[in-house]
C-alpha cells in the first residue's frame, strides 16, 4: 500500500500528461462527466459515484475508422496518446469482463480494443457515496474496485490510499516514487470505514427497491420468455437506444462505409439492438419485428446469453440505463418481475 497527498496527486496527473491524455470526472450540476484534465480543472471528483459516460467509450470509440482503402495488414494508427482514465468505479470495471470476452476471447481478436486495453491506464477509485439508482451489490460487485485496475485510490481526508493492481501500476509508482509516501497509520481503517458506509447505502437501495440478487437470476429469461412482461415494459419505449449506448457492457456495433467510391473508409459505430432493423437481413426478414421482442432480446443477451457463454451477467448495477431512459423503463423493476412468480 502506498499513499499520496492531494497536492502530490495533482502533480501526478500533471506528470502523466507527458505520456497520456488524462481524463478526470468533473462535476457539473448533479452529474460527473469525464473531462480532459488540465491545470485549471475545477470540480474534479475522484470519489463519489460513476461518471455519466460508460468507461467503454475509451476502449471502443462511439465512432471510429477501422479500415481504410485496402490496407489489410495495418490497423489505422492513432495519432493521439493513450488515455489515462482517472476515478473509474468498480461497476465500470466489471464492464471489462464482458467487453474483454467479446473483443479478445475468440479466434478473431479486435486489434483496436486490444491496443487500447494494453496502452490505456486505469486509475480507479472507491465510491464514496451512492446515488438512488446504484445497485451494483445485487450483481455481486462491491462499490470499490478489486480487480482490473492499474492503481486504485481510496480517498481520505488529506490524500489517497493507493493500491497497485497491475505491473503497469507498479511501474507508474516506481517512476513517480517521490510523489508517494508511507501509508499513515489510520489510513486503512479510514478506508474500510468509508467502504462499509457506502456498501450499506447500496444495500439500503437494494432493500428499498426490493431488487433481486443475481443468485436468483438463473433461468429467468427462459421461464418468462412468453410472459406479458415484455409487452408491458415495451409500451412506453421510444426505440432511442440510449440504454445501449450508456451501458458499460453493451458492445454491438455496425460497420458503415463512407459514401465515397474513391476512398474507402469503414467506420465502426455503436449500434443498438432496440432499433428495428438491427437483426434484419437484406431480403427484409426480421427475427424481431416488434419492439417488445427487441426489449426481450436485450434482456436475453444480458441475463441468458452472457451467463451461458461467459459465466457472467452482463449488468453492472450502475443504473445508467434507468436514468437515461426517456420512457422510464427500469431494469430493477424488470428484474423483480422476472424473478417473481407472476406470469
Amino acid at each position: 500500500m502506498h499513499y499520496i497527498s492531494k497536492n502530490n496527486f495533482v502533480k501526478l496527473l500533471e506528470a502523466l500528461q507527458a505520456d497520456y491524455e488524462v481524463y478526470v470526472p468533473v462535476k457539473k450540476d448533479k452529474q460527473r462527466f469525464y473531462k480532459k484534465f488540465n491545470q485549471s480543472s475545477d470540480n474534479v471528483v475522484i470519489g463519489e459515484v460513476r461518471a455519466y459516460e460508460p468507461l467503454k467509450a475509451f476502449f471502443s470509440r462511439a465512432r471510429e475508422i477501422v479500415a481504410e482503402d485496402f490496407k489489410t495488414d495495418k490497423v489505422p494508427s492513432s495519432t493521439n496518446k493513450p488515455f489515462a482514465i482517472v476515478g473509474v468505479k468498480a461497476c465500470d470495471l466489471k464492464g471489462f469482463k464482458v467487453q474483454d470476452h467479446v473483443f479478445t476471447n475468440h479466434d478473431y481478436k479486435d486489434p483496436f480494443y486490444i491496443r487500447n486495453r494494453q496502452q490505456n491506464l486505469i486509475i480507479s477509485a472507491d465510491c464514496t457515496s451512492a446515488i438512488e439508482t446504484c445497485f451494483c451489490m445485487a450483481l455481486g460487485i462491491q462499490p470499490y474496485p478489486r480487480e482490473n485496475f492499474d492503481i486504485n485510490l481510496s480517498q481520505g481526508k488529506e490524500g489517497f490510499l493507493v493500491e497497485v493492481g497491475s505491473q503497469k501500476g507498479e511501474t507508474l509508482i516506481d517512476k513517480h516514487s517521490s510523489l508517494f509516501e508511507e501509508m499513515p497509520d489510520e489510513a486503512l481503517s479510514e478506508r474500510d470505514g468509508q467502504r462499509n458506509w457506502v456498501a450499506k447505502k447500496v444495500e439500503d437501495n437494494i432493500k428499498e427497491n426490493d431488487i433481486p440478487h443475481q443468485e436468483s437470476y438463473k433461468g429467468i429469461i427462459e421461464k418468462k420468455y412468453e410472459s406479458d412482461i415484455w409487452k408491458d415494459e415495451a409500451k412506453t419505449c421510444v426505440e432511442c437506444g440510449a440504454c445501449n449506448t450508456i451501458c458499460p457492457t453493451c458492445h454491438c456495433f455496425l460497420l458503415y462505409d463512407q459514401k465515397s467510391p474513391q476512398h474507402m473508409a469503414r467506420l465502426r459505430i455503436w449500434d443498438s439492438c432496440m432499433i428495428k432493423d438491427f437483426a434484419e437481413v437484406a431480403g427484409g426478414a426480421n427475427p424481431r419485428p416488434k419492439l417488445w421482442m427487441r426489449l426481450r432480446n436485450r434482456f436475453e443477451k444480458k441475463f441468458d446469453f452472457f451467463p451461458k457463454v461467459a459465466d457472467i451477467y452482463a449488468c453492472t448495477g450502475c443504473g445508467r440505463c434507468i436514468s437515461a431512459c426517456p420512457a422510464k423503463i427500469d431494469i430493477r423493476k424488470v428484474l423483480k418481475k422476472l424473478v417473481g412468480n407472476a406470469q
Partner: protein, 272 residues
C-alpha cells in the same frame, strides 16, 4: 498487431454471368489468395457502398479465384449487379465454419436446396463430387419457384448424367418449357432411397423452406444431429463481435452459418 479483420483485400472482378433476371454470378480475383472451406462465407465490399455476406458458389479447391452468386434483394446487392469486368471490390474472410466433410465419410448423403440456397450448395456439390467415392450414396433434391429462377442449368444437366449422383429438381409453378416435376421440394424427397436413420441431410434455402424440409426429414427418420442447416442471419463483422447475427448462444458468423439442427432446435423462433 494482428491483421486487421475489418479491412478487405483488394479484389478484381474477372467476369459477370447473368444466371436469371435477378441472379448474377461474379467471378473474383483477390490480390491475396483466399482459401475457404465449402460452407464458409465471405464479406464482399463495394467501395463507397458497403458490404454484404455471401457463401462462395465456386470450388474450394480453386484458390486464386472465387465466385459468388448474388440475388438482387437490397442496397448492396443492387450495386453488385451493376459490377463489370475489371471493377475493383473488396473481400474479407473466410468466416465461420464450413461443412464437416470428413464427418460425412462412409455415409449416405442427401442435399436439399431451395431458391437462393443453390449458391452455397453448388460449392458443396463440387466438393462432394470431387470425392464422391468417399460417400455411400449421394442425392440432390432442389426446388425453386419457377423454371426462370433455376440457376446453374448447365451444371445440373451435367450432374444429372452422373452415375455417382441421383438428382431431381422441381419448381413450385411450371411453364411451357418445364418438363420436370412441379411442387415444393418436400414433395420430391420420398423416393430418396437411403437409410434415413444413419443418413446425413444438408439443407440450404429460404427459412420457410428449411423449416418444412426439416420437418419432413424428421418424419422420414433423419436424426436431428444429422440434419445440417444454413442459417440466414444478419452477419456483419464476421467475427462474433458486432452482435447482429446472434442465434441463441451462438453467432451465425463464427459458430455457423451451418448448424446441426440438434444444436439450435431449442432456441426460440429460429426460422424467423
Amino acid at each position: 498487431m494482428p491483421n486487421n479483420p475489418y479491412s478487405p483485400i483488394e479484389t478484381k472482378v474477372l467476369e459477370v454471368t447473368t444466371e436469371t433476371p435477378t441472379i448474377k454470378t461474379i467471378k473474383l480475383k483477390p490480390k491475396e489468395e483466399i482459401s475457404f472451406a465449402t460452407g464458409q462465407f465471405i464479406e464482399l465490399t463495394i467501395p463507397g457502398v458497403g458490404e454484404a455476406p455471401f457463401t462462395p458458389s465456386s470450388r474450394p479447391s480453386v484458390k486464386d479465384t472465387m465466385e459468388v452468386t448474388v440475388m438482387k434483394v437490397g442496397r448492396v446487392t443492387e450495386r453488385i449487379h451493376q459490377l463489370k469486368k475489371g471493377d475493383i471490390v473488396g473481400l474479407r474472410g473466410p468466416f465461420g465454419k464450413g461443412y464437416p466433410l470428413d464427418d460425412f465419410k462412409g455415409k449416405e448423403l442427401l442435399v436439399v436446396g431451395g431458391g437462393c440456397g443453390f449458391a452455397p450448395l453448388r460449392s458443396l456439390m463440387y466438393s462432394l463430387l470431387e470425392r464422391s467415392d468417399e460417400f455411400k450414396k449421394l442425392f440432390f433434391r432442389g426446388g425453386c419457384k419457377t423454371p426462370r429462377e433455376l440457376v446453374y442449368r448447365s451444371e445440373t444437366e451435367k450432374w444429372r448424367e452422373r452415375k455417382d449422383l441421383n438428382l431431381k429438381l422441381t419448381v413450385d409453378a411450371g411453364d411451357e418449357s418445364w418438363q420436370g416435376h412441379v411442387g415444393l421440394v418436400t414433395t420430391i424427397l420420398d423416393d430418396v432411397d437411403m437409410d434415413y436413420a444413419s443418413g446425413i441431410a444438408i439443407v440450404c434455402g429460404p427459412p420457410v423452406m428449411m423449416k418444412f424440409a426439416t420437418r419432413k426429414l424428421q418424419e422420414m427418420g433423419f436424426k436431428e444431429e444429422n440434419i445440417y442447416l444454413s442459417m440466414e442471419k444478419n452477419m456483419s463483422c464476421g467475427i462474433g463481435k458486432c452482435g447482429h447475427c446472434r442465434l441463441g448462444i451462438y453467432y451465425a458468423c463464427k459458430d455457423g452459418p451451418v448448424f446441426k439442427y440438434s444444436k439450435i432446435k431449442n432456441f426460440p423462433n429460429i426460422w424467423d
